[in-house]
Every structure is written in structure tokens, then in C-alpha cells.
Amino acid sequence: MLKYILWRFFSGSLVILGVIVIVFFIFHVLPGNPVDSLLGRDKSEETRQRIMHEYRFDRPVYEQLVLYLNDLSPVSVHWHVEKNRKKFDYIELMPIGDDKMLVAKLPYLGYSISRGRRVIDILLEDIEGTLWLASAAMLFASVVGIGMGMVGALNQGSRLDKMILTVSVLGISTPSFITAILVQLLFAYYWADWTGLELQGSLVIKTEYGREYHFKNLILPALTLGMRPMSIIMQLMRSSLIEVMSQDYIRTAHAKGVPKHLIILKHALKNALNPVITAVTGWLASLMAGAFFVEFIFKYRGLGFDTMQAVSDKDFPIVMGSTIVVASFFVLVNIVVDVLYAYLDPRIKLR
């Protein structure tokens, strides 16, 4: 088991490495001059030279890549000078040669000129909002989806079941921009007095007294984002539970005299959840993509919102950084899901 997890982490880091290399080439090798976009207002030759040097555009591509990887690696080697100490904010591990140092640090993703901050700091701040949003959406989708799916399966063919099916079909087929607008209109406009929700807003708002959490701003984005996964889970759960309930071992449980609620909650659910969990991996991808979009519509500060802004500001370090962060997030979630899957179904051996 442990060997398997270590192996998954190893292969996962290879995936991340691949993503990094691709991202690097997309931004550095493709036509178009990044320096121009980094210049901002000050277009003097002197600044141009400084940026060329700072971003190592004056060096060969392979060197740039190696140095970029060195920047990203949590354990790396740097010139031990005051400027680097400030730039990377590292912890010294051991000196190498006279003037170099092996250091531990947060991955250095570059510096955003337009915001005047390190990209990693911006992203770390952003990711909190996105994680809250994604978790809330997932929680909503799983709880409601599994619940409704079970209700549908256990009352198969009834009016309630047909209603649940209709809702899920609508949920799957409605594009999220329409869901977003409908949700905004209904809950934050027509029923605003009653719900007390606002059209747009962030979870974390910085004031002079520190960070404030506005959890009510989480509700509508999470609802919008969770709508589609909820519908998918609902249908999967329904069909999977219907199938499991007709299995021989459920009949065995009846013959043993197990009460009905225990048959459903203990014997059937654990079996029925397997395909649902598999699907979770699948739609996590669209969940992250959707989060970008939903954050933008609700002006909800998170990874997506800032990335979208960075795109329009042509702030490439942020776009690159967030791509890498999202990829790493994916790899991590996939590992967690696989381990969970093996826990639910002992027939699956992790090897």
C-alpha cells in the first residue's frame, strides 16, 4: 500500500514535470515577445535590458529551462547573495562551493510586475478561495446527489423518481453560464430581500483589520459549480444502486433477516458507491475548469478569477504559475481517489 502510494507520488511528479516543460515552452518558445508585455508603461531601452536579464531571455533556451526548473524545485541551488535571499525567501541547507548554497524554499514561480508581488504569494492567497469553493461544490454535489440518487433508486418508477430524473437531466444539460445567471437572478435579485445574498462577492475580503470571511458569498458560486456534478452523481448513484439492489448478496442479506435500512446503508451503499467514486475523478477536471468560469462571473476571488485577470493583463508568470498549481492539484486528487477506491472495494489491490 505504502509502496503503491510512493510510486503514485513518483509518477505523479513526472506528470507535473511534463506539464512544467510544456508550459515553459508554450510561453518561452512560441512566437510573440514576452518582454513587450512585461514592460508595462516604462518602455526605455534600459528597462528592456534589465527585464531581458532578469527573466534570462538573453540566455539559450535549454539553460532557461534548467534554471526555471531550479527555480521551481523546492530543493535547489542558488548563488548565495542577498538579492537571491530576498527573491526566493529560502532556508539555507548547506553551502556548495564558495558562493553557492543548497536551499529549501517554496517553488519560485516568478514575479508579477503588474501587482508587484511574488506569484507564489498571490497564488497561495488565491488558492484558499478556490479550495473553499471546490470543496463546498463537491460537498453539495455528493450529499445531494447521493441522497437524491438513493431516493430515486429505492422508489424506482414512482413520480418522485421521475422528478429526480428530470432534475438531473436538466442539471447535466444546462450550460453553467445559464445556471449562473439563473442562480444570480433568482437568489440574489428577485429573492434578494429574503435570502440576503449578493450578486457578486468574495469569500475572503481583506480589510485594514485583517482578513474577513464572508461565507454567504460562497453559497451561490458553490451551487452553480456543483449543479452539474450533482446531477451526474445523482444519475450514477441511482442506476448503480438499482443494480446493486438486484444482486444475489442483497437477497442473502434479506434471508439473514437484516433490517431494510441496514441493507441499504450497509450492504448496498458501499458497493454502489464504487462507480460514483470513479466518476468523481472524471468530473473533477470539469470542476476545476468550471471554477475558473464561476469565479469570474461571481467576481469571487480565487485562482480562476486571478488567472483570468492575469490573462487580460498579459501577466504571464501568474498564468504559468496557476497552470502548474492546477496540474499538481489534479495529480494529488487522483492519488487520493485511487486510495479511497481501494478502501471501498477490497477486490482492488493497489500494486
Partner: protein, 607 residues
Amino acid sequence: MATGKEEIPLLSVEDLKVCFETKHGQVTAVENISFQVKKRETIGIVGESGSGKSVTALATMRLIPPPGRIEQGKILFDSPSLGRVDITRLSREEMRMLRGGEIAMIFQDPMTSLNPVFTCGNQVMEALLLHNPELSFSQARKRTLEMFDKVKLPHPENIFRAYPHEISGGQKQRVMIAMALSCNPSLLIADEPTTALDVTVQHRILELFQELRDQIDTSILFVSHDLGVIGEVADHLLVMYNGKIVEQGATWDIFSSPQHPYTKGLLACRPRLDIKLKVLPVISDFMDTDANGNVTDRQENKFKSVGQALLLNFQSKDEIIARQESLLAQEPLIKVRNLQVHFPLKKNWLGKVTCVQKAVDGVSFEIYPGETLGLVGASGCGKTTLGRAILNLVEHVSGEVYYKHRNILKMPKRELRELRREIQIIFQDPYSSLNPRMTIGEAIMEPMRFHNLHESDKKRKEVAIDLLETVNLSSVHFNRFPHEFSGGQRQRVSIARTLALQPRFIICDESVSALDVSVQAQVLNLLNQLKDKFKLTYIFISHDLSVVKFISDRILVMKEGKLVECGFAEDIYEHPKNDYTRKLIQSIPKGTLEDVRRAMLRRKMRK
């Protein structure tokens, strides 16, 4: 038993009727079912698929799956806790108390009847804790381990912790039995408990049943399609046909002098081990069904009794020997030399195979033209793989297979395709081997078209209808779809499709295993007729030794990928040389009078 005093039966079913609600109205599954189970008695229900035997058993537990329901009748049960109750009228909660506690059930397929996500121990303990709330966790655990010991599971501690997929089929069925018996039920219902198991495993489970019924005070309702199995365990028999009980009585009486024509047919159509028959008697030799589905005795009886049916068909020793000699005088049709199929199990990181599963491990034999070569062995012994390897249908094959002096395994693709016309396979499952969206006629014509046989579709259709008639179907079936046919008819369609390519050599891979005994007899007879008519050669793969004995000239016995014995069918059955073969033969429930008598005696002795 006959003490004179009238004993209250443990279970008495009176005029039971079960119906299923379908789109086309109500369908009656069973009707007029009345029988009694006395204390410490084993009642056997025997019948073929669709006879309603399982429905009867499930009705006793009120476990009939919807849309089925008990339409009328009483099921009176002498419950230790509730007194004499009518099961059809109990509340859901009372019913739940009875289930597992006082009436327990064992199902047919142990592979699917245990919940895959809980350990075996956990599942047995659950039943114990449900019905004995006063038990502590550790007491329940102790009882479970005792039960595992009682059903002779090796290393109870390990089984307790194991998940169902980690133990063998026979062990799973033992876990099921332990689970059913854990709460000391008064009545145990066993619905085909050995059908899904190998012969030797079945034998051991049946032995376990016989031992347990002497140790515990449980009555058993034993449902099976196999008369041989039921003859060994039951005191009393119910024979069911078409939802009704056609005959009931003491096991001995039914075996020695069956009254109903269906029972006679059922007894006669089982392939036997002791004598070689030319043609298997079939049920229609004994009975007719009239327009209303009622069974009538056949007027111009071909056979008067079971014994006569066998006598008239008996093949003499001289006939057998003459045939054996003429077979071996020929040049072999197929020569198999050192055939190996090694499936890679593990590979190292360079992709080099480090561990193999030897599915077929160095097998050599010959097949002579016109013979039927039987291939038997327990499930997983590699017999199916061997059959496919001969046709070069599996990967990782090595060795040589000569068909008419050409090595099949080294043949170019085009020649191989041509050859596959001459060598055909009939598969086990007649339900899944026909495309449900293709008419029977299309299914038979398709291979002919593919191999460009006959000049036009018109001619092909004629041939197809001809073939349907050969397998005792008719031209009206040409445009029908597979779901309109019964299992036996479908298997006959499969055979017709196989014959469409005018093969010389056919591999029958468990071709009759999914069929009822009576249908099995028809298909086996058909295969024999076709062999003579078209000069075919068969490899007949089966786990059922009595079937193989009936149809084969020579038999190969396989175990773990190797041939352990090879010889003429009669020699192998009469003088098996290998221990494994001997064990296989001894395990078959023979269902002869001699065996029934011995089983009855054994039971009397123990009492």
C-alpha cells in the same frame, strides 16, 4: 419415522399459488403446491428450469422478487418463538425475525451470494448479532469461528479475515452454510447449493450436508435439478414440472418405481456411467403435452419403463470394441505435440515475463477421424484454453498442432481463416453467443456469406432452412429472433450455424452445460446423429463426466494444465489408473437405485 403418533409438521404448505404480474397480464409461476416438512427430515424438490422449484423455496421465505407475489394458499410454520404461524400473514418485522433466525437459506451461486466488500467473518457475525442481541462481539466471533470449524473450513482464523474473492468457490459455499446454520434454524432451505461447484467440491459439500443433518435438529428443504444429488440427501421427493407437483413420495419409491411419465423421462434421460447407450431416452419418449399444457402419458409408448428404455438402447461390449479398433486403424486427423499456453502473470520493468500461469502445460495427443474425444477436468484446469489453443485462438501458444499434416500454429493468416471454416467451436452459453438483434436465419447465413459459400443468398437461405430442419427446427423459425427461443432451441440454432460452414471438425466447449437434463439429452442425441450424417469429428469439452462418458470414444482427463490420463471411455471409468481420475469418478452423484439405497442405509445407521 412411523411411530404411529401424528406429529405436527414443521412446515406445511397448503395450496400455494404464486403469480407474477407482467405487461401481458398475470403469469402463474406455481399452483396447487401442497407438501409438508416434518422435523429432522430432508425434503428434496426436483425439477428443471421454469418448473417453479426455486419460486416455491423463495415463497417459504417470502423472498419472491417483485412483481411476483403469493396469490393464495397458506405456509404454516411451527416457529419456536411465535408458535404456529402462517408465513403469508406475518408482519414485516416478524418475518425479519424468522429469516436467518428460524428459517435460513443457502443460495445457488456462492460467488455472487456473499457481499464482496465485507469479510467472511463479518458477514456470519452479522447474522449472529442480529438474532442474538445478547451476544457480545467477542462471543459472536468465537461462535463464528466454531461454525467455520464445523463446516470444515481450513484455518478458520484466516477465513474469518478473508474477503469472499480471496477464497475458493467451495469455501464460499461453506461460509454460506456456516452463516445459515449460525443461529440454529429449525428449517434450512438450500436452493441448488452445489450446482455452481465442481464435481469433487460438490461431493464434499454433499458429504458435509449429510454429516450436519445428523448433528443438528434442522429440517432441510433441498432444491436441485439434479436427481443424482437429490437422491443422496433427501428422504422425501417432490417432482415439479411446469409449476405443479407431478409426483411426491419417498425417495426410494420414486427412484425404484416412478409413476408419472415426466419422472420416468427425467430418470431415463440422465447419461449413465454404468452402461453405454446408443441414444439417450428423452422425456418425449414418455409423455405428451396436450394443447392446454397438461401432461399425458404417451399413448403408443416407445418404452414401458425406465429399465426398458435403457435395455433397448444398450451397446454391447463387442460393438464398442469393434468401433474402437476401426477408429485407431486410421491416420490421425489432428496431432497435438507438446502444446503449451503460458499466460504471463508478472513482468519486470523491462517487460520481461517473470511469472507465468501454465494454463496448458505440454500436452500431446491425437484425434482420429470420426471419433469424439472427451476432455474433462475441474474448472480452471485449462480445458477451454486447450480447445482454443488448437484453433490458434489464444495468445502465448507454443508447440505444434498438425491438422492434415500442416501446423496450425505456424500458418499464415489467410490459410488460417480458410481453415477455421473447417474447424468450428460451439460455445457454452446459448444465450450470449447469438446476437439478439439478428434473426436466426441471418445468424446462420452470415458465416456462409463471409466465407463465400454458395453462389447466391437465395441458395444460402435454402441451405439455412435445410440446416434448421436438420437440427429439428423448421422454416417458420427462420425470421425469428433469439429471445423467442428456449435455451435448448438456441443451442440447436448455434449448432445449425456451426454446420453452415460444412466443418470437418467441431470443438464443443461445454455445449450442453447450461441446459436442463431433458434438453441436454436431446442435444447430445442430435450431436451424435449429425456426426454420423456429416462424418464429423468432435472434441467434447465438459466438466460433467457422465455426459462425456456417454458421448466420447476416448477421454482425456486434465488437471492443472496437464493430461493425467488418456484412454477409451469404458477403460477409464472401469479401471482408472490415476488417483485424480478415480476421485473424479467417485464424486459423481450417480443417482442409481444402488446409490439411493446406500444413502438411505447410511442415514438409518446414524439414527
